[in-house]
């Protein structure tokens, strides 16, 4: 009899997840292919319309560019502070800050950037007073470029956190062996370091891509849903700001989930390859 309680808790958790996570997802899939007269592919096919293609393209472009910048900048920062010669205090300062910044997303981040780079932002005004008018040069915070600048604020720290274990896994012996054989640092990176790191870098890129791809709050706060992204389009359907059927929202959501499943599958494959070097 005493075994009932443990199984009750296990069952409760699984049932909770099934009811409030799996069932809604299945509901989306069902809704996306159900029209007034039953089964239909109309709503999924409607994703090929111009405005949704724009949303897909914007979302993918924003995610890919901010992830790429994140991987490069975050990787370089992590590499710099992980050098054996770097002071310990610097290392822990960067790690702590990354933990904070990676979790400082959403609306507060958006308004922080409005205060900085918005049309009345302090940096914008400051640059204007010395003759550099960003907004007349075509920059605006409320565009894909602007959003990319904002997204990097959580992408780069996220990268620092994700890549640190992989960088620490590069063995000193490999580097010493290269030096003994007369390799320059550039040769070491080109022939040993980067090839070993490549799968980790790839899987980090994928995860950063996913984090930007599913972000809604930052983009909404900055553009009020006027810039077409997948997340804001779904949000617009849900809040009734546009004349579209709930099925369209469901179809868009299914589209996002398909992209995310693909992304996570690629990442899992890459991590598997990365783990070859770390027994």
């Amino acid at each position: 009899m005493r075994f009932i309680i443990p199984y009750f808790f296990i069952f409760a958790f699984v049932a909770f997840a099934a009811l409030f996570m799996l069932a809604p997802t299945a509901m989306l899939a069902a809704q996306a292919v159900t029209g007034e007269d039953g089964f239909t592919f109309d709503y999924l096919l409607a994703l090929g319309e111009y405005r949704y293609l724009v949303a897909f393209r914007n979302s993918i472009e924003l995610s890919a560019v901010s992830a790429l910048v994140g991987v490069i900048a975050g990787g370089l920062i992590a590499h710099t502070v992980l050098k054996p010669s770097a002071p310990e205090s610097l290392r822990s300062a960067v790690t702590s800050f990354s933990a904070v910044a990676a979790n400082f997303g959403g609306v507060p981040l958006a308004f922080g950037f409005v205060a900085t780079l918005g049309s009345l932002g302090l940096l914008t005004q400051g640059l204007k007073s010395i003759g550099i008018d960003l907004y007349s040069m075509g920059f605006t915070l409320y565009s894909i470029t602007g959003l990319t600048v904002v997204y990097c604020y959580f992408q780069i720290p996220l990268m620092v956190i994700i890549i640190t274990p992989a960088l620490q896994g590069l063995r000193v012996e490999w580097r010493e062996a290269c030096e003994n054989l007369g390799a320059t640092p550039a040769q070491y990176w080109r022939m040993v370091g980067l090839p070993v790191l490549l799968p980790s870098l790839f899987s980090s890129f994928i995860l950063l891509f996913g984090s930007a791809f599913s972000a809604y709050a930052t983009a909404y706060a900055l553009t009020s849903g006027n810039l077409a992204l997948l997340t804001t389009e779904i949000g617009n359907v849900l809040s009734g700001d546009v004349m579209s059927s709930p099925q369209t929202g469901a179809a868009l959501s299914v589209g996002m989930i398909v992209v995310m499943v693909g992304v996570l599958g690629l990442s899992a494959a890459a991590s598997k390859r990365a783990s070859r070097w770390h027994k």
């Binding site: 956190i161 984090s211 599913s214 909404y220 949000g235």
Partner: protein, 257 residues
Amino acid sequence: MKRLGVGGWIILALAAVYFIGPLVLTVIFSLWEGRGHYGISAYVTLLQRPNIVRSLVVSVELALATCAALVVLLVPAMVFMNLYAPRLRPLFEFIAALPFVVPAIALVAGLSALFSGPEWLIGTPFYLVIPYFFLALPYAYRAIDVGIRAIDLTTLTEAGQSLGADMGQIIRLIVLPNLRTALVGSTLLTLAVVMGEFTFANVLLFHTFAVLINEVGQNAPTEAAALSTLSFLITWLAMAGVLLAGRRGGVQLSGAR
């Protein structure tokens, strides 16, 4: 200090400008009163807003309720799964990975499609605890999993049993104290995530702290900057707690898997 190299210093300097710049400018902006005057009037106006305290309280309540749900629903399930049904581990891993695959905005679409009642469930802000549970699940699962793997759960349980303790005593006196680091870490992380959460609250029309920031920000930028500053401080405090609690790397941040 000397051996970072010129390249290293340039990288760090650029990073410092990009990361610290907006923070400093946001604080200065929040103190701006127009025409070259600076002061705390934005903060004073904020405090006089009728909704601010209410929305902050709602967010704090939601954060605490989500933490409670994690402790009541997730922790026992994970402990018992490890003890009695380790074959269910892949299922648990799958559930914990789901929130990554299904973005928040898609989950909220699914929830609103599936549930249009009952009123006692979807009519109160505490409905948000359900999506927030899944929002925090990946982080919390990882942290607790690391915590459980670090202690030898089976041996500890058997030792307790052979000394005559019942299951409740074992959980209360042995398992939970050993998981304290993991629990504190995931609780604080959940706190930070829920305090800043906007997607679910906005779509489901509940007035939380982040929704208020957005509302204020659309017409009062300096007050929004003040709220952003406060919000950054909250995140900072929660993270400082996580780092102090999890010195041994018990907490993994931001879905690194």
